[in-house]
């Protein structure tokens, strides 16, 4: 919401000089989230730097050992190192989540652009599609899609991707309508620009600026969905060290050993929180720079 500046004495006298002089200090949460995600990226790219254990092979005689100096997160029922499995699992959980998010981003952006342009008929079709998709809880919708196309790693990404389409579609649609009506787009014709050129040089970039923020926040919910579906046995199959799969496996021994399920749970929680904190921070920074 914007008020006329004259009603805000503080805003009317805002001094950009003093704002520039102020050192930009990141909030603690943002710093911690960035560090944690850096760690997760290392686990994703070069997991063997973080642990020398094999995530798939363990010594059954050393099963269900409590966390110790040798096994930081303990071992699971088959004697595999839980820390190694959590580290290697980052690759599966994150990449499937990322793929799901990208599918919703691409499909949602295309549909949103179509819906946001002037054709009312196409807008109706795309908007009703968003309505239908968001009428179901997204995990339920993903379950439905998996029931149709079968379980598996890629199929989980596709299912989550389809369920996430309305989120991006609606954002892009409203953003397109906003930018489309902005003076710099409406008046571009006065300066002799063709519609195609206005679309590419002015409309598209100003619509797309809003997306990275939402995408960052969305990775979090996408990862939760991946873990949820894997937990139900619909995603990657054991012995894949995916975090949701590990939770499912750990559930059977929860009465005697908490570590095989708690550590992957913490990994999921921290990853999701970190993405959300970062995304929200960008969103706040982004506010006030609305392209319309």
């Amino acid at each position: 919401m914007t008020l006329p500046s004259r009603t805000l004495p503080g805003a009317a006298t805002y001094d950009p000089q003093s704002a520039k002089a102020r050192p930009t200090r990141l909030p603690l949460g943002v710093t911690l989230s960035s560090l944690f995600l850096l760690l997760v990226s290392i686990a994703l790219a070069i997991p063997f730097w973080l642990t020398h254990y094999d995530p798939l092979v363990g010594d059954v005689t050393l099963g269900l050992q409590a966390p110790s100096a040798a096994h930081w997160f303990g071992t699971d029922r088959l004697g595999r190192d839980v820390f190694a499995r959590v580290v290697y699992g980052a690759r599966y959980s994150l990449l499937i989540g990322l793929a799901g998010m990208l599918i919703s981003l691409i499909a949602g952006t295309l549909l949103g652009l179509v819906a946001g342009m002037k054709n009312r008929w196409l807008d109706e079709v795309a908007s009703r599609l968003f309505d239908v998709l968001s009428a179901f809880p997204s995990v339920l919708l993903a379950l439905l899609v998996i029931a149709l196309i079968g379980p598996g790693m890629m199929n989980v990404a596709v299912a989550i991707g389809i369920a996430g389409i309305p989120k991006f579609g609606r954002l892009v649609r409203s953003q397109t309508q906003l930018v489309r009506e902005a003076d710099y787009v409406r008046h571009a014709v006065l300066y002799g620009r063709s519609s195609a050129r206005v679309f590419i040089t002015h409309l598209l970039p100003n619509v797309l600026v809003a997306i990275p923020v939402i995408a960052t926040i969305d990775i979090g919910s996408s990862i939760i969905a991946v873990s949820g579906l894997s937990f139900l046995g619909l995603g990657p199959q054991p012995p894949t060290p995916e975090w949701g799969v590990m939770l499912a496996e750990g559930r059977d021994v929860l009465r005697v050993a908490w570590w095989p399920s708690v550590f992957p749970g913490i990994a999921i929680t921290l990853t999701v929180i970190s993405f959300t904190v970062l995304g929200s921070y960008w969103q706040r920074r982004f506010e006030g720079r609305n392209p319309a």
């Binding site: 805000l8 004495p9 710099y184 008046h187 006065l190 300066y191 063709s194 970039p205």
Partner: protein, 551 residues
């Protein structure tokens, strides 16, 4: 003499952390007595609104208000607590804000909004008495048929009626002081006069009025005393007559000299100076520099020919089935090379519809437009495109017409044709509009309103047009910035031989810059002629009403 309603001595207001803690208002002394109208005049950021708000205890969060004396209704306001201030607001002092549309709650009707203060202060104990008082207040501000209007909502009223409803809400509790913050800024000339008359009526009834405006001529119509504010200080104060005829401070002198007026035609506004008066009683004399002469063109070189264009819209909703709404009746005019045609009219008079047709954004129902002898209306946009460079546009709000991601260089370069180094050529254009090349990498958001308008002008010049269309290009600018931009436009007309279609609601600006004028009223051109003849002897009753000097 009665006790003053407001008695301030040496008021200063600062916000820690803003402008390094320097006060935004300092050393201000002010008195308002019953039945007196006092005006605070100054440009945006001069501290006038802040001063007014401090009289209601609304200077803002963290404001540090200090004064030798700050008496409101004879009581020391520096010692006021929340409750005391609540008693001041609405009951002792009513505030009339600028923008009636955002100041009125869209979900409550006019009657509820007006009665709010009575209910909040529990001034009347039963609902009937409140309704009665609301109707009285609405009638007092000259709203016809108050019973019906009280049941309407803000968006259903015209701008003038909304502003009156806001005044009614401010006076409903019978406050002894009315504070009006730019009460007429968004309104048309004739409506402005009505609102001023309503406020003057309140003053005649014995209320004190503090009116805040950037427009010295406007407050001259109503104020008894004027305080001119500049950078948080009162630089000039006195009776209206004194300030207008014997301004003491250089700032006031510059303000007066830079206002366009009957005798400013053909001269520079920004360099005009008030000549030192030989005798204090002599009328104010302003020394002006002439603008460079514009090259003469033969009348046989029309740039734009508009023949009988009209536009009407089907009515929707309530008016469905009635005759279509005529936004623009049959309009014809010709604009020659190097000529300035002014279009003046109130909002809804059809001037923007006319501009949109000329710009090729809207097809006329009938009639035709020709640009440089080429057909311009009723052709596909692709055929217009090669000629677009010949017709450029300067909007009222340049910032919204710039792509938010673009730097000044990108904005100008986008309008340059191929060839040459864009950076050098954009730099030259910036030089022509009085900005140096260091602005090329700046972002429009970090520029002032005047600088943004200069960038918009540079962008228009980049296309080397034959014709520029300006829609209210200076109406959002302070007087001195307006003077600079008008001077710039005049100079560029002289050096480039560009024709100009200048749309404005401001009569003085139109009179200053135009050669010929079209007066629009309710979708029709009611008068058309050379500017001096038209202003000297208006023919149409509406033009006369528009030009009538207020009593």
């Amino acid at each position: 003499m009665s006790t003053p309603l407001v008695d301030i001595e040496d008021l200063s207001i600062r916000f820690p952390g803003v402008r390094h803690g320097a006060p935004l208002v300092r050393g201000l002394s002010l008195q308002i007595r019953p039945g007196e109208c006092v005006a605070l005049v100054g440009e945006s950021g001069s501290g006038k609104s802040l001063t007014a708000r401090s009289l209601l205890g609304l200077a803002g969060d963290g404001a540090e208000v200090a004064a030798k004396r700050l008496l409101i209704d004879g009581r020391d306001a520096l010692a006021f607590n929340k409750n005391d201030w609540r008693q001041v607001r609405g009951r002792f002092a009513g505030l009339v804000m600028q923008d009636a549309l955002v100041s009125l709650d869209p979900l409550r009707n006019i009657g509820q909004e007006t009665g709010e203060v009575l209910r909040a202060h529990r001034l009347l104990d039963n609902g009937k008495a409140v309704d009665q008082r609301v109707l009285e207040a609405l009638a007092q501000v000259g709203i016809p048929d108050p019973e019906w209007r009280a049941s309407q909502y803000a968006h259903q009223l015209s701008g003038g009626l909304r502003q009156r409803a806001l005044i009614a809400a401010a006076i409903a509790a019978g406050p002894r002081l009315i504070i009006a913050d730019e009460p007429t800024t968004a309104l048309d000339v004739t409506v402005q006069r009505q609102v001023i008359a309503v406020l003057a009526e309140r003053v005649a009834q014995g209320a004190g009025l503090l009116i805040i405006s950037h427009d010295l001529n406007l407050v001259a119509q109503i104020a008894d005393r004027v305080y001119v504010m500049h950078h948080g200080e009162v630089v000039d104060a006195g009776s209206v007559h004194q300030v207008l005829t014997q301004p003491r401070h250089p700032y006031t002198r510059q303000l007066l000299a830079a206002s366009p007026s009957a005798d400013s035609r053909g001269t520079r506004l920004s360099t005009a100076r008030v000549s030192p008066a030989a005798d204090a009683l002599a009328p104010l004399r302003i020394e002006r520099e002439p603008l460079p002469a514009r090259p003469l063109h033969s009348a046989a070189e029309p740039v734009l020919q508009v023949v009988g264009i009209s536009k009407s819209y089907r009515r929707r909703g309530f008016g469905r089935g009635k005759a279509p709404f005529q936004a623009l009746g049959s309009t014809s005019f010709t604009l020659n090379r190097g000529e300035v045609l002014g279009i003046v009219g109130e909002s809804g008079s059809g001037k923007t519809t006319c501009a949109n047709i000329v710009l090729g954004l809207l097809e006329p129902d009938a009639g035709s437009v020709q640009l440089l002898g080429q057909p311009w209306s009723h052709i596909p946009e692709a055929q217009r495109r090669p000629w677009r460079r010949q017709m450029q546009y300067i909007p009222q709000d340049p910032l919204s017409s710039f792509d938010p991601r673009y730097s000044v260089l990108q904005i100008i370069a986008e309008n340059l044709d191929a060839g040459g180094e864009p950076r050098d050529r954009a730099g030259v254009l910036l030089g022509q509009v009085g900005l140096d090349a260091s602005y090329l990498d700046r972002h429009p958001r970090s520029l002032s309103g005047g600088q943004r308008q200069r960038v918009a002008i540079a962008r228009a010049l980049a296309a080397q047009p034959a014709l520029i269309i300006c829609d209210e290009p200076v109406s959002a600018l302070d007087v001195y910035v307006q003077a600079q931009v008008l001077d710039l436009i005049s100079e560029l007309l002289a050096s480039h031989g560009i024709a100009l279609l200048f749309i404005s609601h401001d009569l003085e600006v139109i009179r200053h810059i135009s050669d010929r004028v079209l007066v629009f009223h309710q979708g029709q051109v009611v008068e058309h002629g050379a500017v001096e003849a038209l202003f000297a002897a208006p023919q149409h009753p509406y033009t006369r009403q528009l030009l009538a000097t207020p009593a």
